[in-house]
């Protein structure tokens, strides 16, 4: 249990070790630790940012999808409307055309009937005159009785 020079020797060794540790051991390891801490913090921040970006992108894509759907729906609606319009229009046209054809046909019929009636009337007049001539056995002055005959014909 002697107190001797060992004490001073130990103190010197202690001093040297501490200085060495302070100069060559502590700073590099501390620097590495801090750098790693920073790296990890950066990495976490980046992943946060990426997650946020992803969320935004998803939102955006969803919105675009929605818009596209709306557009498509609008287009289909328009197309339907347009098709209906076309169908209506062609129906209308067809109806008109039919009407026109019917009217034309009616007019034609009317005209032909009139023609036939006129022809009949003329023939009838001649027949009546011939009949009367036969009855009377006299010639009838056509020009004298023309007026009367025409009146007769108009009554037919």
């Amino acid at each position: 249990m002697n107190i001797n020079l060992t004490l001073i020797g130990q103190a010197i060794a202690f001093f040297i070790f501490v200085v060495f540790c302070m100069k060559y051991v502590w700073p590099p390891i501390m620097a590495a630790l801090q750098e790693r801490q920073k790296k990890i913090a950066d990495g976490l921040a980046a992943s946060d940012r990426a997650a946020r970006d992803l969320e935004l992108a998803q939102e955006k894509s969803a919105q675009e999808l929605r818009e596209a759907k709306q557009q498509a729906a609008a287009l289909i609606e328009q197309a339907n409307k347009r098709a209906n319009q076309i169908v209506e229009a062609s129906k209308e046209e067809a109806r008109k055309e039919g009407q026109k054809l019917i009217e034309q046909a009616k007019a034609e019929i009317e005209r032909e009937r009139n023609q036939a009636r006129d022809a009949l009337r003329a023939e009838l007049a001649a027949l009546a005159v011939a009949g009367a001539e036969k009855i009377l056995e006299t010639s009838v002055d056509a020009s004298k009785h023309n007026e009367m005959l025409e009146k007769l014909a108009a009554e037919l």
Binding site: I3, L7, F14, F17
Partner: protein
């Protein structure tokens, strides 16, 4: 048997001492020295007769060797330190450094580049020195006996010179930082005007000796308690290992194994306490509270 047992114990507790014996000294083997001689002590009595000018080669040698091992290990890790994926050694070193750094940050709030590396050195070095306690007590002494060295004490912290050498260095740092932070006046004021204080100037002056005595004792007690706590724990532990080694061979392991397992706790705890108290003392030296 009693004689040989106490001889065995004494032999184990004797340091390998290199010192100066005065002229005319009668050595253990009966020879008389003609001149003052630097030599290795052959007995405990010779060692104590060498007085202050002697070195405990074994304590100092082992402590320096262990300190160098610690520094080489940590320097290797520091050189290869990378902020990427650390290897096993770097991982271990980082764990130690973060542990010490956290301990320092919890206790010491000032700015000082010395305290953290100082604490790291203290913890690792003392832990390694204490660890030598777990080497079987006869192992290394026998080895060195074969090499012709009579005494070999392999646990440096069972040598009070080693622990005192460290605690006095810490004490010097306490004084240095007290003076640096508080100035001479502040430091003296802290020693003389507290804990008892008065508004009356006369009473204040009367209280100075009382305060100086109290504060002086508490200041001096710091390095002494620091050194003796570590020394006492390790010396006692070593002594018990030696006593266990005196038992018959078949009984030894029943005691030495539990004691060694318990001692793993003790050596870590003592290294931690020495480090923590150093941090506390130095942070007290930095606090300008009065």
């Amino acid at each position: 048997m009693a004689g040989s047992a106490s001889e065995y114990i004494q032999h184990h507790l004797q340091n390998l001492t290199f010192g100066k014996l005065p002229a005319g000294y009668v050595r253990a083997d009966g020879t008389v020295l003609e001149d003052a001689t630097w030599t290795l002590a052959h007995t405990g009595k010779e060692a104590s007769d060498m007085g202050f000018w002697a070195l405990h080669i074994d304590s100092l040698g082992w402590s320096v060797a262990l300190g160098v091992i610690f520094l080489i290990l940590f320097r290797m890790a520091a050189k290869r330190a990378t902020s990427g994926q650390p290897g096993a050694l770097q991982n271990f070193v980082e764990v130690m450094i973060e542990f010490v750094d956290n301990s320092v940050k919890e206790t010491f709030h000032g700015k000082n580049k010395v305290i953290a590396p100082l604490a790291l050195t203290i913890f690792c070095w003392i832990f390694l020195m204490n660890l030598m306690d777990l080497v079987p007590v006869d192992f290394l002494p026998q080895l060195f006996h074969l090499m012709g060295l009579e005494y070999m004490k392999v646990v440096p912290t069972t040598d009070v010179n080693i622990t005192l050498g460290m605690s006095l260095s810490v004490f010097a740092l306490i004084i240095y930082y007290s003076l640096k932070v508080k100035g001479l006046g502040g430091f003296l004021g802290e020693l003389t005007l507290h804990p008892f204080s008065s508004d009356n100037l006369f009473v204040k002056i009367l209280l100075i000796p009382v305060n100086l005595l109290l504060e002086g004792v508490s200041l001096i007690a710091k390095p002494i308690s620091l050194a003796l706590r570590l020394f006492g724990n390790l010396y006692a532990g070593e002594l018990i290992f030696i006593l266990i080694a005196l038992l018959p061979l078949w009984a030894q392991w029943t005691l030495s194994v539990p004691w060694a397992i318990f001692h793993i706790l003790v050596i870590t705890l003592q290294a931690f306490i020495f480090m923590m108290l150093t941090i506390v003392y130095l942070s007290m030296a930095h606090e300008d509270s009065h």
